[in-house]
Amino acid sequence: MIAFERFTLANGLRVLFHKEPATPMAVVNVLYDVGARDESPEQTGFAHLFEHLMFGGSKHIADFDAPLQAAGGQSNAFTSNDITNYYDVLPAHNLDTALWLESDRMLSLAFTPKSLEVQRQVVIEEFKQRYLNQPYGDAWLQLRPLAYQKHPYRWATIGKNIKHIEDATMDDVRAFFKKHYHPGNAILCIVGNFELATIKEKVAHYFGNIPAQAKSPRQLTAEPPQQKFRIKTIQRKVPAGSFYYAFKMGKRLSDSYYLADLLSDHIGNEKTGILYTELQRKKRLVSEITAYITGSIDEGLFVITGKLNPKRTFEELEAAIWPVLAQIKDKKMSKSALQQLILKLRTAKAFQDQGLLNRAMNLSFFELLDAADLLNTESARYEQISTTQLQQYAQELLDKNRCSLLQIQPK
């Protein structure tokens, strides 16, 4: 049980506080409700480029990192298709430093042309390092636009085209900040050994006078239901064929998210999962295979991925995998198998909840989704699931007409 307090400032900033008496450290997490899905199709990669710029100095503070490091702390951030999340971890007695830094960059960035030029270059190198100069590095850059045709999930956080980053102007950057970076669009979470009254006082002090701004409504193009199987084969300089079967699943808060999560664990496990036992062990078609879900806020993907064995073909895999998926739809999981999955989730959650930073990030994310309480109540949603529901859901999920298949073939 992760206990927390919640309050909201007059300017709309939502604040969560979780007291942890056992630590000498503090975590300050600031989640902004903006991700790659909020970008225009002509300016992709912006939310992520912006995350880099947030470290380039703010209105009153020339350098973000130096004061935090001098306080014994460090900071980082990540951008997803849904959110941009910043965090600072520092000795608790220097909490003010993190609040001072985060509040100033929420108020306004410095916006220097130099910072934009350099971070543009850094992001281009990141694009090369992570997506282009790695075997299979661009798989998701290819898979997204195959699986999503209308929804902005069709591009990756790095952007669909390096040119969008190259072309970003100071005006674009300013407009992006103005639209998305304000108290009403943020959730602040503080974890550490503090009193609530102190936290309220400090948060009001640093964040209270940041002007309020109306939250701009989000109008995303919905992804129309997929009616037909999609397949795309690309050739790359890779040593082995690689495949991604991506099925449409529900939104993060839908019941189907929990069903899909359990199902992916069940069929994707090494040694015991059916994908492994049938396709790797018995038929020797693949050298590795697993299943996972993307878990995005809007309609996500349930992905079965792996690599072909040498001399085996995509056609052979195609012929073999659908009968295996049919077996999953036909056969109900045993009650004990389901109980084991739930117990494994409990173990994993206990370990995740151990980390202070995890707690801060998860509280913030759940608050954005609905309410931070979900962190404590979500386990119950798994525990209510029956084997019948899982089977019914498998039948709905593993429909070939709702599948997009990306194949990467060795050149």
Binding site: S75, L90, P91, T97, V122, H205, Q340
Partner: protein, 426 residues
């Protein structure tokens, strides 16, 4: 607490006052000596349900046959005298347990995670699998096969190529230079894996780390099981190596980036210069505001990231800078790294920068000591080197006292470009 109140006027251009870290307490684990001489270290006081047991074996990959060491580690929980791989996995699933095996050059660390009331039950299954592993031929073949394929993927990465060449040249003349090659996979042999297991696992258990609020009965249970195993492997022969210097480039057609590794032999924390060098290394390249990051990423935009590190083994240590840069900025990056070496050798580190790095290192140490898991890792880091927790008090004192002159002296001694091994790939 702070005297700030919300009614006070906030001057955003003034940084809040900083407080130094007054004290860090380092808590030793309880130590139990097993019948066979191996030691069991236990930490409790978690106030949550998590627990783990971690077994350290003298079964690292710095041998004449690194592939056998690697396959053996990968096959430990894949079939025992009484159960198949699948049965073992199901039995672990039934108690909600996870495990991982991590192989380094010096040791193999096998860790089992579970909720505390399930840990002993899970370990009973695990223990039997580990110590009566039979390495079924089918499992061996499957792993060889998938490892070979993973290797061919790795081989395409410039970072992998540069790292391997660096290790091979730096650690030349020692078993640490022996790395898995593609052709090794054709010679993989089950009987060698069995022999390696008998020698390095059945006789190679060096120590056990246990974390969790476990009952006395459970603790006894672990002790009884573990008492049967221990280490009677003779100490390795004295370590010797002939590290190489100079530049080597590995060309890869069509690469967009070059991976760089630049380094030299150094020392581990048993050396008197270690603490002061840690400060110098941090200034140069081991935090986000470091000189390499500020210059090569934040000023020039040549890379997504660059860092320098001191890597420690029990017998030696080395210094290494690693980065991936655009191919066209490779030479410029070399120039800038040399420039940063020169600055450290010719100019004293400004007081503000030195103070910042000292505070940063203290904050990081405080974080590293936060909670039983982290604390036990800190303990393990010194225990491996034959030191105890008092080392950290010494480290704090050294960090606090080191001055700019000492850092300059160390830069002159250890950061000479012409003494570096310089590898680039791509």
């Amino acid at each position: 607490m702070s005297k700030i109140s919300s009614s006070a006027i906030l001057d955003r251009s003034v940084a809040p006052p900083l407080l130094p870290i007054e004290h860090i307490s380092f808590v030793a684990p309880q130590i139990m000596v097993l019948n066979n001489g191996a030691k069991l270290f236990w930490r409790n006081g978690l106030q949550n349900e998590t627990s783990k047991i971690e077994l350290h074996f003298a079964a690292g990959s710095a041998t004449n046959d690194p592939l056998t060491a690697s396959l053996c580690a990968g096959l430990l929980i894949n079939g025992s005298s009484t159960q198949t791989a699948k049965q073992i996995q199901k039995a672990l699933d039934a108690v909600g347990a996870y495990y991982d095996v991590s192989l380094s050059q010096e040791s193999s660390v096998v860790t089992l995670y579970a909720l505390k009331d399930q840990l002993l039950k899970a370990y009973e299954v695990f223990h039997e699998s580990l110590f009566t592993a039979v390495f079924p031929l089918k499992e061996v073949q499957e792993l060889v096969h998938s490892r070979r394929q993973k290797y061919t993927v790795q081989e395409q990465k410039v970072s992998f190529q540069a790292q391997r060449q660096f290790q091979r040249s730096l650690m030349a003349g020692s078993t640490y230079a022996n790395l898995i090659q593609l052709s090794d996979f054709d010679r993989a042999d089950r009987s060698q894996i069995q022999a390696f297991h008998a020698e390095h696992y059945l006789k190679g258990l060096k120590k056990v780390f246990l974390v969790g609020d476990l009952s006395t009965e459970d603790l006894n249970g672990f002790e009884v099981l573990l008492n049967a195993y221990g280490s009677d492997i003779a100490e390795r022969a004295p370590f010797s190596w002939q590290p190489e210097q100079g530049a080597t480039h590995i060309e890869q057609d069509g690469a967009l980036q070059s991976a760089l590794r630049i380094g030299r032999p150094l020392f581990n924390k048993t050396h008197p210069d270690f603490c002061a060098f840690s400060v110098l290394n941090t200034i140069l390249g081991d935090y986000f505001g470091s000189r390499l990051m500020s210059n090569i990423r934040e000023d020039k935009g040549y890379t997504y990231g660059i860092g320098s590190h001191v890597v420690e083994n029990t017998k030696f240590g080395y210094f290494v800078i690693g980065t991936e840069v655009g191919v066209s900025t490779r030479e410029a990056t070399f120039q800038e790294i040399q420039h940063e070496f020169e600055r450290l050798k010719t100019e004293l580190v400004p007081a503000a920068e030195l103070e910042l790095v000292k505070s940063y290192l203290m904050g990081q140490l405080l974080k590293s000591a936060d909670g039983p898991y982290a604390m036990l890792d800190l303990f393990a880091n010194v225990e491996t080197m034959g030191l105890d927790l008092s080392y950290y008090d010494h480290y704090i004192a050294e960090i606090k006292s080191v001055d700019a002159h000492k850092l300059q002296e160390l830069a002159k001694r250890y950061l000479n470009w012409e003494e570096m091994l310089i590898i680039s790939a791509g």
